[in-house]
Each structure stands twice: as structure tokens, then as C-alpha cells.
């Protein structure tokens, strides 16, 4: 047990900095970059410290303002939430480096507004992974959603419409979640997750508990865009400002999956979910498999790099949801490892999208001809990200897929195994189609293509992420043994 409150600073610093960004940014946009980077740099270091503490001394809970649970709000810092905290802060730091020039170009004059929402969103995500209170989770969920609506609406063209669509779907999801929490509160008289978890088994299941579970899960599935509730995502993410997409695409769906894991195992418990309701369990794996296959096929139909990636995100959600509902420790390990890997792979590819958008302004396949000659470093990183998505060893994507498929084999869910293999093959087609266009087309046409790379501040995070994908792949042994084994929910 430790009395550290380092994790509070991880969340509070971006939140408070958001206010300063708003105020000072009005005076001059030059204050925005140092403030934002400083806050996120601090959060990254501090969350690394939190993770080290947790690994050394074990997880702990923290009562905010010293109000004792179940009345007060409790934060739970265990290996899983500490890992998520680190992931969020590092991904957002890398995304910000690339977002800064992008926003200065796309949303000139509105940088301070953009980064205010941006930092509040990051603080909200950090709060989400720490909270141990079901209602507090709802509040934070709304904070992240509302900031995201704002960020997306800052895009050009049809972005406000896509954002409006997202507002409707997101609000429906939030309502479902809140209704579920309401049921739980009526049943148990508590909003604290641990407290609810200790009372629920005494109630012996029943229709009311099942309804609560149903509402909460459907609410979260809308937020994470699980097929067939994904309709809002492709438009919202592809029309969002490039700078917003950089942050939202890698993190939002992954945090939602974390929330699903949290609610499933910290509130309802593996026994209730898997042993008492085996039909739901296997039904979910089927649904996830169908989602993977359908979303992969829809990705095939896209002719724009960014839109294609959004459908891949939907397919990847199916990977992780399926892994969680396989109900064995290998699948769970795969799901958690894939949260980390997928966040980095998506980040890598969206950084590429940002770099290309910065230089050419278009992500239609037709405009990617010969881009290898023009932006060799960006495209080298793209290739690594693509290989990771396909699942080529030793990139990170291969190893999480390994655990997920192995979990599917152990659980006897062959439909899930087939869906994963199918999706890997489709990804190979998707990415090699682009590699072919970007590498072989447009050679020799209109003279020699000039080298025209993105600015260094965009290339840096890109190269770093690509290297991280390989490093995490090679280091996946220690990562799984040292962190993820400890992060598995109780009962695995």
C-alpha cells in the first residue's frame, strides 16, 4: 500500500493547463505549444512513475478529498489502469507533436480553443481509466464525449453534420449507460463499483441485474463503435480535423474497451458473466466475429486512406471485444495487449495520414501515386504500421493477434479464429493496394518526383512510433509477463 498521489497530478496537470491554454492562447498562439507539450510531457513521466509504483508495491485505491467510499469518489490504480494511464499520456504526447503544425494550418486562429478541448479530453480519458465509481464514470464519459463533439465539429465541410450524428448516437449511448447505473443503484443503493460488486452476488442474478448489465453494455458498445453500432464512427473520424483524429482515433475506442473490461469484471464479475450466462458469452464472440468480417469488407470499398483506416478501427474493436468475451486468460491477455498495440498502430497510421495531409492535403488513393519517392521516411513508417496491422512478425500486431487466435482455439470458437485470419488477409490486400499505388505508380510521369517530407516535428513522433511497434513486438514477452499478467482481472 502506498499513499502516493502522483496519479492525481497525471490527470490534474492537463486539466488545469487547459484553462491556461485558453487564457494565454488568446493573447498569442505561441503560448499554446509549450503549455500543451509541457503538461503532456509531465503527465507521461508521472504516469511512468505511477506504473512503476504499482508494479513494485501493487495496486491501491485513493479516496478523492478524503470522502470515504461508498459515498466519496474512489479512484482505483491497479496495473491495468496504470498501464492505460501511461498509454494515454504517451500517445497523446506523440499525437500533439504532430497535431501542433496541423492545427496551425487547418484551424489557424483557433489553436487555443482547439487545444483547450484537446487537453480536457485527455484529462477526461485519464479520469475514466482511474475511476472506481460507476456514476463518476458516466460524468467523465460525458466530458470526453462533449469535448470530442466539439473537436470534430471544428473540421471543414460536412464535419459539423458528422459531429451532430455523433452527438445523437453518443447521447443515446450515454443514456443507456446511465439507465443501467440507475438500475444498479436501485438494486444495491450504491454507486461505488467495489461496493456494488460485493452486494450483487447476494441478489442472486434475476431480471433486474440482467437489465442493468444489458443497458450498461449497449451504452458502452455504442461509445466504442462495436459492429453493428458503429455507424457514427467512420464519418466522425474521417471528417474530423486531422489534429483531432490523431488523438481520438488511437485512444477513444481503446479506452471504451477498457471501460467494458472494468465494468464487466469489477462490477458484475466473471462468474456472473461467463458461467451463469454462457449463451451471452458465446453470442458476443459471434457478434464480434461478424463485426470483424463486415468491417473489413467495408474497408475494402473505400478509396480514401483515412476512411479506410476508420473501418479498420471498427474491425479492431471486434478483435478486442471478442478477446475479452472468449472467457479465458489467453484471450484476455491478447485483448489487453491489443489495446496497447492497436493504440500505437492506429497512432502510427494516423501520424502518416497527418504528414501526407500536411504536404498534399488529399488522402484519396489517386493522389498517393509515387508518394514513396516524395516522402520516403513517412512511407517507411507507414509500411511498418501496415505490417503491424496485417500481423507480420516481429511487429507488435503479430503478437497480440497470436494470443487472440490462440485464445479462440482454446475456447473452441473457430468462427473467431477464422474472422481474425480473414481480417489479416483483408488488411494485407488493403495495405498492399496502397503500397503498390504509392510505390510503383506515377514513376517517370511528369518528370522526377521531388522529395518533399513533412516537417521534423511531424516526422519525429512518426519514426518513434514505428520503432516502438517493432520494439514492443520483440519485447512482448517481458511486457506480457511483467505487466499484463498482473493486469488481468480477478478470476483469470
Amino acid at each position: 500500500m502506498t499513499t502516493s498521489n502522483l496519479h492525481m497530478y497525471v490527470m490534474a496537470v492537463p486539466l488545469i493547463t487547459a484553462m491556461f491554454v485558453n487564457m494565454l492562447g488568446r493573447i498569442s498562439p505561441k503560448y499554446v505549444a509549450p503549455l500543451t507539450l509541457g503538461a503532456l510531457g509531465f503527465s507521461s513521466l508521472a504516469s511512468l512513475g505511477v506504473l512503476r509504483q504499482v508494479l513494485e508495491y501493487g495496486g491501491y485505491s485513493y479516496t478523492v478529498g478524503n470522502w470515504a467510499p461508498p459515498m466519496g469518489i474512489e479512484l482505483v490504480i491497479d496495473p491495468l489502469s496504470a498501464l492505460m494511464l501511461l498509454l494515454i499520456s504517451v500517445v497523446s504526447l506523440l499525437a500533439t507533436l504532430s497535431a501542433l503544425p496541423m492545427v496551425a494550418k487547418e484551424q489557424a486562429g483557433k489553436e487555443h480553443l482547439f487545444f483547450t478541448l484537446y487537453l480536457i479530453l485527455i484529462a477526461g480519458l485519464m479520469g475514466l481509466v482511474m475511476t472506481g465509481d460507476a456514476f463518476n464514470l458516466y460524468v467523465l464519459l460525458e466530458i470526453t464525449s462533449i469535448t470530442t463533439y466539439g473537436l470534430i465539429a471544428m473540421g471543414k465541410g460536412r464535419a459539423p453534420l458528422a459531429s451532430f450524428n455523433y452527438v445523437i448516437m453518443g447521447s443515446v449511448g450515454a443514456c443507456f449507460y446511465l439507465l443501467g447505473v440507475g438500475y444498479l443503484y436501485i438494486l444495491t443503493g450504491s454507486l461505488n463499483m467495489a461496493d456494488i460488486a460485493s452486494i450483487l452476488p447476494q441478489l442472486g442474478g434475476g431480471a433486474a441485474v440482467a437489465t442493468a448489465l444489458g443497458f450498461i453494455l449497449v451504452g458502452l458498445w455504442i461509445k466504442m463503435a462495436l459492429f453493428p453500432l458503429h455507424g457514427w464512427l467512420p464519418n466522425a473520424y474521417s471528417l474530423a480535423p486531422t489534429g483531432a483524429g490523431l488523438l481520438v482515433a488511437p485512444l477513444m475506442t481503446k479506452v471504451s474497451i477498457y471501460l467494458m473490461i472494468r465494468v464487466m469484471f469489477s462490477v458484475f464479475g466473471a462468474d456472473y458473466l461467463f458461467v451463469q450466462n454462457p449463451l451471452v458469452q458465446s453470442g458476443m464472440v459471434w457478434l464480434a466475429s461478424a463485426g470483424i468480417i463486415c468491417a473489413s469488407c467495408m474497408a475494402l470499398a473505400q478509396r480514401n486512406l483515412k476512411r479506410m483506416l476508420t473501418y479498420i478501427i471498427v474491425a479492431e474493436v471486434g478483435y478486442m471485444v471478442g478477446g475479452v468475451w472468449l472467457a479465458n486468460s489467453i484471450g484476455m491477455t491478447g485483448a489487453i495487449l491489443h489495446i496497447v498495440n492497436d493504440a500505437l498502430m492506429t497512432l502510427c497510421l494516423f501520424l502518416v495520414v497527418a504528414a501526407i495531409a500536411y504536404r498534399t492535403g488529399s488522402l484519396e488513393f489517386d493522389n498517393l501515386r509515387g508518394i514513396y519517392k516524395r516522402m520516403p521516411i513517412t512511407m517507411a513508417a507507414f509500411t511498418v504500421g501496415a505490417f503491424s496491422m496485417i500481423g507480420v512478425p516481429p511487429t507488435a500486431g503479430f503478437f497480440s493477434k497470436w494470443y487472440l487466435i490462440l485464445g479462440g482455439i482454446e475456447a473452441g470458437h473457430w468462427e473467431y479464429v477464422i474472422a481474425l485470419l480473414f481480417s489479416s488477409l483483408i488488411n494485407a490486400v488493403l495495405f498492399f493496394r496502397i503500397i503498390e499505388i504509392a510505390y510503383f505508380d506515377g514513376r517517370g510521369e511528369q518528370g522526377k518526383i521531388q522529395r518533399d517530407e513533412a516537417p521534423l516535428i511531424m516526422q519525429g513522433p512518426l519514426v518513434l512510433t514505428a520503432v516502438a511497434l517493432i520494439a514492443i513486438g520483440l519485447g512482448s514477452g517481458p511486457l506480457v509477463q511483467g505487466i499484463i499478467k498482473l493486469a488481468l482481472p480477478a478470476g483469470f
Binding site: P394, F399, I409, E410, L421, F432, G477
Partner: protein
């Protein structure tokens, strides 16, 4: 058998991978770039050869790169079977490097830097496959080879090259992800390890014969680089690549990596005893026999020389798998030996095809009548290579084919004996007319009779050298024979 931890296996694999960097940096200075290629190729042979004595004495080397999955590290290990393949690949790479320089310069090819860099990565991956200590490591290098050879297949950047590249990736990547990967995972879920072990790791794990049969078939087709029908279509398509690529990659490295992977699975994942017990050898030999006969028949109909060689390769690769599937001592030895014997023979033939293209600009057999009088040395080498593939003395191919025949007889598998004999006749039927018409037919082009004009020395010397090596292997097959015996019966 004892393995020492040593950095040498890693060095052998990495040298050409790291070598790709100076090659790319010397983009503007071709002489320097080619010196790097030669230097790296030579050093590689030396490193591999320096490990040979230890392996012949029953030892070996091991190097763990990373612990990635419980019980399955990414690990390199030099054992007899790996050494066998590494020796063949690294020696032939040296010849190919020399030949490449002659070929690429004579034709003044574009994008030579990309070509030499991809080539360097590909040979790294090939040695990685040879020295893999477990199936996961093998899979890693297998995929690396697929991806690094893609730019070589699409070298010409035109529509035909792109179509072939697509076909290549679809077959190779599609089968490895769709078939070999699940097979590997099923093996892991039964055995809890993927280590290559003499006698296999699947015996006594409770896998039913049906599961074993499924896994075996997934592996046979999943490693599509071995070209077993119906997953052979990529090989003829890949012939659009420059000839040194076809020679080394599609005559030696890529296709042999496929066969090597399948043999590893048969010998060291299943184990011959287990396969014999559940009677799965017949699955292997049936698929291989069909491939041998069909490929040889199709080869007869091909007028494009490289395509004929490609179909011949498909048939010969199936010989190696056929031998392993016999599950008799001589059959398995013959299968493994054929990797080396065929490699030296086939690379000679491809070198000749390239030399003919460079010196005379001919691709089609029907246009080559009388060409032997213009390029006598090339045609002599072509004849030696053909004889080796057909399997007649005094060339190396005879040794492996003899073992295969003995293996078929020992196993009382007379139908396989029939397959071997039929195929030998077909091999002769599709190779000998080329040689005969080259020397004796009326010249297709009057210029053929106007004196001798061979390909540049950089092309000619390597092809004569491999032809001589092929003959030497008939008289001194000892090293390869000993390695094969060590690999199978330590």
C-alpha cells in the same frame, strides 16, 4: 547434442541485412555498391563455413534474440539441417552476386540500388529460416523473405510486373497467414512449444489423427513457396523478375525455403515415427506425386525458357517433399540432399537462360535453334545442369535421385518408383531437345553461325562455376551427405 551460445549465427544472418545500408548509401557509385555486395557475400560464406566443423562434429550454436511468447523465443540455432541449407544458400548467393553485376549492367537496368538492397535482405531472411530454432522464428523470417522479394518480382514497374507481384503476394502471404499461421497455433496449443526437436514435438500430446492430418495439410499448402499444386501459380508468374532473381530466389532461396520449412515440420515437428504411426506419409506422397507429374507435363508445353524452368522447378521441389513423405531412411536423406543437388543444377540453368537473354536477347526456346554454336560454353553448362536435374551420372542430381529410388524400394512403395521413373523421362523430354537443337538444328537466326559470342565474363564465369560444382558434388557429396545424416539420425 550440445549447443554453445554464440553470436555467430546472428552475425551470419545480420551481415547482409546490415549490408543493405551501405548498399543504399552508395546509390550514386555503382562500383562501390557492388564491392559491398561482393564483400558481404564473401564474408557470409566465411562465417557459415567457420561454423561447419563444429556442426560436423555433432555440435552447434545457439543465440536467443528475444523472449516473446512463453516457451517460444525468437532464437537462432545452427544444427546440421540448418547448416546444410545455409551452406547451399550462402555459396550460391556469392555466385549470384557476381552474376547479378554482369547481368544488371549488361542490360543497364533501372533501380539497381533497390534491387541489390532487396536482394541483401532476402538472403538474410533465407539464412534466418535455415538457422531458426523454432517454428515461430522460421515464420518470422519466412514472411521477411516474402516481403523483401516482392520489390524484386515487381522490378520492372510495369503492368505485367505489378500483376505478377500481386499474384506472388496473394499466394505466398495469403497461404502463410491463412493456412500456416493457424497450423502453427494449433501445434502450439497441443504441444505448448514450437521448438524443432529430433523426433518431433507432437507425439504424445493427445492430438487425434484427424487433427494431425489437418495440421499437416495446412502446413503443406501453407508454405506455398514450396509450390505444391494447387498453390504453385505464383512461380511461373514470378518469372517476370530479372533473371538473377529467378535464378537465386526462384531456383534456390525462396522455393527451397518453402521445402525446407515443410521438411522441418515433417522431421522436427511431427517426427517421422508419428507420421508413420498414423499413416500420414501417404498424404504427403500423394500430393507430391500429383505435383511432380503434372508440373513435368506442363513444362513440356512451355516455349518461354524461364517458364519451362519454373515448371521444372515445381516438379523438382515436389521430389524433395516426396522423399520426406516416404518416411524411409534413404527417402528422407534423398529428399534433403535434393535441396542441394537441385539448387546447383537449377541455378546453372537459370544463369544460362539469363546469359542467353543478355547475349542474344532470346526468351523463347523456338527462337534458340542453333544458338549453341554461338554460345558453346553456355550450352555446355546448360547440358550439365540438365543432366543433373534429370538425375544421371556424373552429376550431383544422380546422388539424390538414387537415394529417392532406394527409399521408394525400401518402403515397398513401387507406385512412387513408377512416379520417379516417369518423371525422369519427362525431365529428359523437356530439357534434351533444347540442348540438341541448340547445337545441331538449323539456325533460327543466321547470325548464330557467325562465330562465337558469349555473355559478359561476370555472367559466364558464375554459370560455369556452378556447373562444375554440380559435377563435383557427384564425386564429393560427403559434406552434404554427412550433414543430412546428422540432421536425420544423430
Amino acid at each position: 547434442m550440445s549447443y554453445h551460445t554464440s553470436i555467430w549465427p546472428l552475425a551470419a544472418v545480420l551481415i547482409s541485412l546490415l549490408g543493405a545500408i551501405p548498399i543504399m548509401l552508395s546509390d550514386r557509385r555503382p562500383n562501390l555498391r557492388e564491392s559491398w555486395t561482393i564483400l558481404i557475400a564473401f564474408t557470409k560464406v566465411m562465417i557459415v563455413a567457420s561454423m561447419l566443423p563444429t556442426v560436423l562434429n555433432g555440435g552447434g550454436f545457439v543465440f536467443t534474440i528475444a523472449e516473446v511468447i512463453p516457451n517460444v523465443p525468437i532464437e537462432l540455432r545452427v544444427d546440421a539441417m540448418g547448416m546444410f541449407f545455409a551452406l547451399v544458400a550462402s555459396i550460391l548467393w556469392l555466385f549470384t552476386s557476381l552474376y547479378s553485376i554482369g547481368y544488371m549492367r549488361a542490360l543497364d537496368e533501372h533501380d539497381q540500388t533497390r534491387y541489390f538492397a532487396s536482394f541483401a535482405v532476402a538472403i538474410s531472411a533465407t539464412l534466418g529460416v535455415a538457422f531458426s530454432a523454432n517454428l515461430l522464428t522460421l515464420y518470422l523470417f519466412y514472411e521477411m523473405l516474402s516481403l523483401s522479394t516482392y520489390p524484386l518480382v515487381t522490378h520492372h514497374n510495369d503492368a505485367e510486373a505489378k500483376t505478377s507481384g500481386r499474384k506472388y503476394l496473394t499466394y505466398i502471404l495469403g497461404t502463410s497467414i491463412g493456412l500456416a499461421l493457424p497450423a502453427m497455433l494449433i501445434v502450439y496449443s497441443f504441444a505448448g512449444t514450437l521448438d524443432f526437436k529430433i523426433g518431433g514435438i507432437l507425439a504424445g500430446t493427445g492430438a487425434t489423427p484427424q487433427t494431425l492430418a489437418l495440421v499437416l495439410i495446412l502446413f503443406l499448402f501453407g508454405f506455398a513457396k514450396a509450390g505444391l499444386m494447387p498453390f504453385h501459380g505464383w512461380l511461373p508468374a514470378a518469372m517476370v523478375a530479372p533473371t538473377p532473381v529467378s535464378a537465386f530466389l526462384h531456383g534456390v532461396a525462396v522455393v527451397k525455403v518453402g521445402v525446407f520449412s515443410i521438411l522441418r515440420v515433417i522431421f522436427h515437428i511431427f517426427g517421422p515415427d508419428l507420421l508413420f504411426e498414423v499413416n500420414l506419409g501417404v498424404v504427403i506422397t500423394t500430393i507430391a506425386s500429383i505435383t511432380i507429374l503434372t508440373a513435368s507435363l506442363v513444362a513440356l508445353t512451355q516455349d518461354n525458357l524461364k517458364r519451362r524452368l519454373a515448371y521444372s522447378t515445381i516438379g523438382q521441389l515436389a521430389y524433395m517433399i516426396l522423399g520426406a513423405g516416404m518416411l524411409t531412411a534413404a527417402g528422407m536423406t534423398g529428399g534433403l540432399l535434393h535441396i542441394a543437388m537441385h539448387a546447383f543444377g537449377k541455378i546453372t540453368l537459370f544463369f544460362c537462360a539469363g546469359a542467353i537473354y543478355v547475349a542474344a536477347g532470346k526468351k523463347y526456346i523456338s527462337q534458340m535453334d542453333g544458338l549453341g554454336r554461338r554460345m558453346p560454353l553456355t550450352y555446355l553448362a546448360f547440358m550439365l545442369g540438365s543432366i543433373s536435374i534429370i538425375g544421371m551420372p556424373p552429376l550431383g542430381g544422380f546422388i539424390s535421385k538414387w537415394n529417392l529410388v532406394i527409399g521408394a524400394v525400401n518402403g515397398d512403395q513401387l507406385i512412387l518408383l513408377l512416379v520417379l521413373l516417369t518423371s525422369t523421362l519427362l525431365n529428359a523430354a523437356y530439357f534434351m531437345p533444347i540442348v540438341y537443337r541448340g547445337f545441331f538444328a538449323k539456325a533460327a537466326d543466321p547470325v548464330f553461325d557467325e562465330g562465337i559470342k558469349e555473355a559478359p565474363l561476370f555472367c559466364l564465369v558464375p554459370l560455369l562455376a556452378t556447373a562444375c560444382a554440380s559435377m563435383t558434388l557427384f564425386f564429393y557429396p560427403d559434406i552434404f551427405l554427412r550433414l543430412a545424416k546428422l540432421a536425420l539420425f544423430p
